[in-house]
Amino acid sequence: MKQIFNGCVSGLALVAATALPLCAADMPTELGAGEGIVSIVAWPGYIERGETEAAFDWVTKFEEATSCKVEVKTANTSDEMVALMNEGGFDLVTASGDASLRLIAGKRVQPINTDLIPSWARVDDRLKDAPWHTVKGTHYGTPFMWGPNVLMYNTEVFPEAPTSWDVVFKEMTLPDSESNSGRVQAYDGPIYIADAAMYLMAHQPELGITSPYELNEDQYAAALDVLRAQRKLVSRYWHDAFIQIDDFKNEGMVASSSWPFMVNLLKADSVPVASTIPSEGATGWADTLMLHADSEHPNCAYQFMEHSLNSNLQSDLSVWFGAVPSVPEACTDGSGMQTEAGCSENGLDDFDRIKFWRTPVSSCESQGSCVPYYRWVSDYIGVIGGR
């Protein structure tokens, strides 16, 4: 820390005024020796050291190379991550788009100096300036992993991939000439309202929805109506990945929004499923490795950010989690188990069709005043409750 401070002071002396905003934001300009520890708040399964499966290990080599010991605190929801970061005592967090901007606004994370991360150049160009970690041109982290919320379907019922989310939103007769009622699922989280809004963007353009996360009262009401109609078709909403897997095996489910994670696990179990991104597009998630504002081990943290972009991590983690690497080369360079086919399977080529998760806020860019997340939660409870 002292070294960084010194670097900042000398930087100040050299380039007096222009460097001021950068130093005021506490951004290091050179790295010192590692502090011996880096503690990370992460999604379960994100930081593996070969203890769950020996083949999946992207921590041991980092620890050997840098003598920074990795400590992990897993969190199950974005809100838990924000709470842990508010509490402090951590260096890094793998924040999703519905948490990252909250962390930046709350000043819990600091800007990062991409010059100190040699592999920044390897990051997918489409992610370098993504709005969920870049505010006014300042980067608040390195892209970690991303993935779409795909439409999973049973290949015996659908000989050809469904081309529209219709199959989960509207009552219809499926190719096996039975109704879809009771055979489709939806995600049991308020953010799913965005899926309905995205569906309306294509089917009711007169509503004028430009972003499924920025809805005014009318657009919001229309999205809820879509979901109310869907409630009649859905016997159970999915919440836990493994319950959905079980429902596709034993409950006769044939179509649902899902993650590549479940699709891969079901395929591995020879259940006849496949996934697609229908014509309306899909929602998705993109996680960013962010540095805590009061990080006590910034040197180790920077080293880990570099490691996350330039090692087997991107490749192996994308296989493990069914996600897409933020470094496109990881699909092909053989640094881990991922392959080109695996990457496109997980959604690499569909980036532009994905509406990435954001937290709906009341003051929104596109139309001034939007329905905030707080109401999404209570209204989605109402919809599932049959109201």
Binding site: S235, I243, V377, S378, I381, G385
Partner: protein, 317 residues
Amino acid sequence: MRPNASQPAIFAPRSGPLARKVDWVIRHPRMFVFLMVLPITLWLGIVYIGALIALLIQSFFSIDEFSGVVVREFTFKTYGELLRPYNLDIILRTVAMAAAVTVVAAMLAFPIAYFAARYAKGKWKALFYIGVMLPLWSSYLVKVYAWKLVLAKEGILTWIFAKLHLTWALDGVLSIPVIGGNSLSVSYMGTFLVFLYIWLPYMIIPVQASLERVPGALLEAASDLGATPRQSFRMVLFPLALPGIIAGSIFTFSLTLGDYIVPQIVGNSRLFIGQAVYTQQGTAGNIPLAAAFTVVPIVVMGIYLWGARKMGAFDAL
């Protein structure tokens, strides 16, 4: 043994600071009791009551509708929110489920407990205890997931019904509106069955304990005086076993009121109070509403215990 007059009745004070303090405490029995009770009082006061009070206070705050920030000012707004139709649904749904589970658990537990208390002897009694307690030793989650598989549309229960050519009966039951559904595992009936299974031991044990204490002679006297079995059950056995049934029902009722895992795994995704608390505080950050929701089971249990007392359920305690 005659006390020896040459020995002093009280030992001379010992030396050393610790020994002197110990002597002092022993000579002041009230102080001794105070020190004994202090830790448990602190535990109850701070950890238990303190947490409850903190919760109550939270429920009188509200959330700012626009920023989603908790406003720390006294208001009844959050309780007003609790009365909105979709929240009221959650409360009624949970209370109805808890009541149904309790009533059926009592009806199932009584004959089992009666057999164990009256007829089971020796190793059969041991077998009874193991049989009732065994499910409690395995993981709660494993049991619930196992039930999900049993009740699934393509699960073992459906298969058995099909083999017995009784699929029509299962379909008939599932087509009942409200409690039916696409399969047992996605209907209220499935949730009910799993709750019943999970909490049944908590009903059997107290009922069995209370039946053990009913003197057999009373039942014999009743029949000697000409009571039919039905009458002696209604006028002798049942009133004497009531405290046990009430004790068991407190368990089954309150445990069902608070559970948030069973309805998430087996059921039709409609929320129960426990899940509402979890969602409101975890996902929505609406801690006041979550706190208000937790007050509901407290109030319901309060009314329940008050009613039980009025019925004289605690007279025998």
